[in-house]
């Protein structure tokens, strides 16, 4: 679940609590709680509320569909299957790539799961030899996936998107 998912869920919970409180207030003899909806311009608020609910419902459905259909790498173990979701692989590879000397930022895309093929887009620091850095990164990602996940990666495409950050100081 992403940070945005959590924010939307939190907002949904808040909206439901507010609506529940308004409904409860109206039922306990405070109809003013819902009178603003029947005011002459109340239809504007009504349409806004409808739009908010439709958007929230659509987002919740996308979360459900995303969780069900998300691709994964599957291991068959003795006691059952182990599915490692692509988001897990992307997060781990991005973190490992950022630890390679000379890499400032990394964005990982999984091109195929069977066999596993990745693309790593990099922002690198100046003063580094790009082909050597790319080879180092490919080797480290391959070893890392084999060691921590037991996954053999068949290809790691490296795409250098930009050079950022500050160069090494010329004087110490």
């Amino acid at each position: 679940m992403t940070g945005l998912d959590q924010v939307v869920l939190g907002f949904t919970a808040l909206v439901l609590v507010v609506l529940g409180a308004l409904a409860a207030a109206a039922s306990f003899g405070f109809p003013a709680a819902l009178h603003w909806l029947s005011a002459p311009q109340g239809w504007v608020e009504g349409l806004l509320i409808l739009a908010v609910f439709v958007l929230l419902a659509a987002y919740l459905v996308t979360i459900l569909l995303r969780q069900k259909g998300e691709p994964a790498v599957v291991h068959q173990a003795e006691l059952g299957t182990v599915r490692i979701l692509v988001t897990t692989i992307k997060g781990l590879v991005a973190k490992r790539a950022r630890e390679v000397e000379g890499v400032k930022d990394a964005l990982v895309t999984v091109l195929h799961t069977e066999p596993l093929q990745l693309r790593v887009e990099l922002e690198i620091l100046p003063d580094f030899n790009v082909p050597r850095l790319a080879e180092e990164l490919q080797a480290q990602v391959k070893d890392y996936l084999a060691d921590t996940m037991g996954i053999a990666v068949s290809a790691v495409e490296v795409l250098v998107r930009g050079i950022g950050g500050s160069a090494k100081p010329r004087v110490s």
Binding site: M1, D5, Q6, L9, G10, T12, A13, L60, I63, L64, Q67, A72, H75, A77, E78, L79, G80, T81, V82, R83, I84, L85, T87, T88, G91, L92, K95, D147, T148, M149, G150
Partner: protein
């Protein structure tokens, strides 16, 4: 709530599916390297409302004498996933079998994410010591 019912010498024994789920969830989370279970939308809303769901992230299918378990987990960064997965599967199977007498036919794991530890901030330089007073 679905229940699994067996007849013993002195009467019936019923174990609710949720109980099997809680046993599986606790057995999984006690393995080092498991950061937590992921319960999807329903679990997220329940936790926001302060309800601690011990069977969060667990789906069980219970028959007369067998059961199958699906676990949705978050792994701690730095652990070997196949090793942690094997330990979870063995512990969940053993614990359910010992506590309920059900035979566990499969324990399927879904690794939904990795929990990264918070980044350590760079050590701030110590504030300069105040200069000694020149006058008493």
């Amino acid at each position: 709530m679905a229940e699994q019912e067996r007849r013993t010498e002195l009467g019936d024994l019923k174990i609710a599916d949720e109980v099997v789920g809680i046993i599986a969830g606790l057995a999984a989370t006690e393995i080092p390297g498991v950061a937590g279970m992921s319960g999807g939308i329903a679990g997220g809303i329940a936790e926001m409302l302060g309800h601690r769901n011990l069977s969060k992230g667990v789906k069980v299918e219970v028959g007369q004498s067998e059961c199958a378990v699906d676990l949705y987990i978050i792994i701690e960064y730095g652990y070997n996933i196949p090793e942690v997965a094997q330990q979870i599967q063995e512990n969940v199977k053993r614990t359910i079998e010992v506590m309920t007498g059900l035979k566990v036919v499969e324990v399927n794991l879904h690794v939904l994410g990795v929990h990264f530890p918070p980044e350590k901030k760079a050590e701030e330089p110590a504030p300069p010591k105040p200069a000694p007073s020149r006058v008493k």
